[in-house]
Symmetry: C2
Subunit: 215 residues, 2 copies
């Protein structure tokens, strides 16, 4: 969990840090289950164990809390695929990425949900800085996949469609967990269930790239 640094170097610095953390953690849960408009500062405060006014003392507005939550989430989403290169084996790099994305869906489903809702509503509260970061990351990953294709390491698939396919299928297990639970008679997917999904998705996605799942 990313915790913003205190500007003042007083003895209460640790209190500030702890409160920041508590507020962010509470806010993630509330925003994920209620959405931005449905969330209330009061509920965040209760979950964090602080009076509402204190929450608005640390973050001066509800919008401020939300923005802090969004950047906190981003810090969780680093993956091995960030450092993939054209020299890597696409089968290894892609299957690792699929499994990592799925693991994030399992361990931080709320983060995935908040981002999903932000996108669904049109990403209007997403800062230009974050958007620019997404674009440059995406373009560099696309370039690597294109190089793999040129080098004959994998089949000629549209790299953007491949990325969207990976995101859609892995995030689905976080975002639509309620639907999965309904359809599976209330049973949530456990760790073993996610392992099976990972095996399935790797086989499926890699096979359409003309690749075999490593080992």
């Amino acid at each position: 969990m990313l915790v913003q640094k205190s500007v003042k170097k007083n003895v209460k610095g640790s209190v500030r840090q702890a409160n920041y953390g508590k507020i962010i953690k509470a806010a993630v849960t509330v925003f994920a289950t209620k959405g931005y408009q449905g969330a209330t500062v009061q509920e965040v405060a209760e979950k964090a164990g602080l009076p509402k006014a204190n929450v608005l003392y640390y973050f001066k507005s509800k919008q401020g809390i939300y923005e802090a939550v969004l950047s906190d989430i981003l810090s969780l989403w680093n993956s091995s695929f960030d450092h993939a290169t054209a020299q890597d084996d696409p089968a290894v790099a892609l299957s690792r990425y699929i499994r990592e994305k799925l693991e994030i869906s399992r361990t931080y489903p709320e983060a995935s949900k908040i981002f999903a809702m932000e996108m669904i509503k049109g990403a209007e509260q997403l800062s230009d800085e974050i958007k620019a970061g997404m674009v440059s990351w995406f373009q560099s990953r696309i370039a690597i996949i294109q190089q793999w294709i040129q080098d004959g390491k994998m089949a000629n698939v549209d790299p953007a469609m491949l990325m969207f396919q990976i995101w859609a299928t892995t995030q689905h297990y976080a975002d639509f967990s309620a639907q999965i639970s309904i359809l599976k008679d209330g049973k949530m997917l456990n760790k073993k269930g996610f392992q099976d999904v990972g095996d399935y998705l790797c086989r499926s996605i890699l096979s359409s790239c003309g690749l075999k799942v490593p080992e």
Copy 2:
């Protein structure tokens, strides 16, 4: 667009029907872009071209409008897969279903978004009746896929994972259109773009089922 029947058989029935339709249509747009809590009856009324009080005269509460929108959406989501049987060719049935789901994402992205948000937030506003309908539909489709597998018509893949994969990948193009637009430099996917996605997804999903895309 499903339009609820007037209970009274008066001469104004057509006015009532027209207003119902206008309100639902407006509400779909507002709920999709703002979420349930973010939507206001005022905005729905403005989009529908009616005074706010009239909207609350037809539907007695905001919740009532929302429920009407949800059931209206469901009526849009009938597909050829509803009537697929164990006698059908899985390659034909699945590829048709994928293309239909994708076409719905293209033509009714707002409906997909409203449902996605409802699921993300935990489906707490979804009626038990709707949930039960989803479960029975799902189980019957799973049974058909299992029969196809038993009959050796397709590879042994988990039918539930296959369904989730189809939903995730097709709905992604509606729900995450803002993200796609950001990453593709503001360019929205046109009809041709969706055609390409359909080709890609059919190839990919069918190949992991050991099937070939028909003709």
